[in-house]
Amino acid sequence: MADVSFRDVTKEFAGATVAVDRLSLDIPDGEFMILVGPSGCGKTTALRLVAGLETATSGSIEIAGKNVTHLSPRDRDIAMVFQNYALYPHMTVYRNLAFGLRQRKTAKAEVDRRVTEISSMLGLDELLGRRPAQLSGGQRQRVAMGRALVREPKAFLLDEPLSNLDAKLRVQMRAELKRLHQQLDITTIYVTHDQVEAMTLGDRLAVMSAGKLQQVGTPQDVYEHPTNVFVAHFIGSPPMNLLKATVAGGQAQAGDLSVELPQVPEGPCIVGIRPDSLSVREADDARPALDFDIEVVEPLGGELLAHGFVNGHRASPDTTAETPLLAGDSESRAEITAKLDGRLRLKAGERVRLAVHPGEVYAFDAATGDALR
């Protein structure tokens, strides 16, 4: 059993910077957990705390049921892939792969067996005699993964390993990572700021912001049922459209849009609509609608992204105390994005009427950002 747990972990750096704020998270054995969030949210620090490269200010970290909070990295039986791979430049690929095993005084025959096994699994056989400087980015990345996996660690930690690769290679490596995880079934913690990677790779996501855990759940769960406006805005590409609204008598009014939201309390709130929930209103459509002036059209083939303006005020997804949630555009025009059918042949400067199903409208508390339904 190699589950990993954070128990109320806080990490403070000198200068009172709280990088991780009372994080509690359980990652069961074999799960692919993604820590996702914007830059500076504490996800890399949380990973380094598991690795032992940072020591928690308070709280504890457990690996396979054992409290490892004060153990050095070498005693934790974990392996890590760094963002820039950190391959030993003065050693061949073979020696890079073998290094961890040699440090633990593994017998030479066993070292050889495991290195050849990993190298053929990752397609590194022809590269074993080369130095890292002679490898391409994708090859280096695979060597870095091989170096981690060859030790058969209890937990496999990855710090934005795909960010240095070109787009095509990234897609390829994502699939390979997923395949590897299915094959090896190692508890994996993966840090990324790319929410597409997060959605496609993880069994579960942990969304973080400003050191705090915002939500944990399966990708679909986090996408469909965000617990607060930050998660709602961060997950999903293009991001959710957020508008300031006022609720009176079960009806929310956001600019031209009037939507029935029965469970939402009276007063100001934030209304959220995903770009793909909007569609061009048909003649006999009874759904709530609003006028949309198109400014920019991005054709994607089967779909198109239309960026433009509606009547109303845009709301900010920022949940930090310094910026009030309702500080968005103060003008009466809010910029939104709609994902529409590509066959519509819409053009910049056109005005269309967009409709949305009331069931697909999200509502968030104006003061705290928490989801209201």
Partner: protein, 294 residues
């Protein structure tokens, strides 16, 4: 006259075309008129010493100096070797230089790594104090150093030469700056792979520091080989003298054997030249490596 702009009725005239110039066939540039005399000026002392080493004693004392000796007296070299215990001089210099190079490489690298990567109370203060000592001239600490060496019973021995020079602040500073420029992820990866702190140091950091270690070795070797003041203070018998001190014995109170002195000097510089020629690549590479991450 063809200047490269051929007028062609079928093609419009290309006013942007640069006319072809005849390439210069001179093997040197105007800068050489300045550089060659400058180089000669710098080489002059060296050339003069070699010439003096091949003259007779009276020729060497003449003024204006004799630049073309009557005959080449290579026997001066043999005479110089035999008149003083040159074998001992070379051995002592070699021991002194080798030991201080080894000591500096080991101790400076360990100290530099501690300052670069380990967090401990007082590390900044300690480092600043060390840097401050760089500003203290050796003459100021000459007497205390002598007293310490005397109390250790090392006066008039090669050990007395070596011990105060086993570790220098310059080396600590140079290596610390270099270690800081290495990506810390390499060391973190090694720690995760199971290496201890010392293991990381010896297996990852040192192998990657070859250029700067070579620089320190060369600088320390040069310094020790050419050192005169400290040997002058601490050594009293010719058998224990290193080369530079030994050479000074050609200088008498009234008379100096210039031709033999020059012969001895030329002999003493040969190992230095050899080190430089051998390590030339490292000199240039290491200057480029200072502060630049690999």
């Amino acid at each position: 006259m063809d200047n490269g702009l051929l007028i062609r009725p079928d093609r419009p005239l290309d006013l942007e075309a640069v006319p072809e110039r005849r390439p210069r066939h001179w093997p040197f540039s105007p800068w050489h008129f300045f550089l060659i005399p400058l180089a000669l000026m710098m080489l002059l002392p060296l050339i003069w010493s070699v010439i003096t080493s091949l003259e007779t004693s009276s020729e060497a004392q003449r003024f204006p100096p004799v630049l073309i000796p009557s005959a080449l007296h290579f026997s001066n070299y043999l005479d110089a070797w035999n008149s003083l215990p040159f074998g001992h001089f070379f051995l002592n210099s070699f021991l002194y230089s080798a030991a201080t190079v080894a000591g500096n490489l080991l101790f400076c690298s360990l100290a530099a790594y501690a300052f670069a990567r380990l967090r401990f109370i007082g590390s900044n203060l300690l480092f600043v104090l060390l840097l401050v000592t760089l500003m203290v001239p050796f003459q100021v600490v000459l007497i205390p150093t002598f007293l310490i060496v005397r109390n250790l019973g090392l006066v008039d021995s090669v050990g007395g030469l070596i011990v105060p020079n086993l570790c220098g602040v310059f080396g600590i500073f140079l290596l610390r700056q270099f270690f800081q420029s290495l990506p810390v992820e390499l060391e973190e990866a090694a720690r995760i792979d199971g290496a201890s702190r010392l293991g990381v140091f010896f297996k990852i950091v040192l192998p990657l520091s070859a250029p700067v270690l070579a620089t320190l070795a060369i600088i320390q070797f040069m310094w020790s080989w050419n050192d005169f003041l400290w040997p002058l203070i601490i050594i009293t018998t010719p058998q224990h003298a290193p080369l530079q001190l030994g050479l000074s014995m050609f200088q008498g109170t009234h008379v100096t054997n210039w031709n033999l002195l020059m012969a001895g000097t030329v002999m003493s510089q040969i190992p230095m030249l050899a080190v430089f020629l051998f390590a030339q690549r490292w000199f240039i590479q290491s200057i480029a490596y200072t502060g630049i991450k690999q």
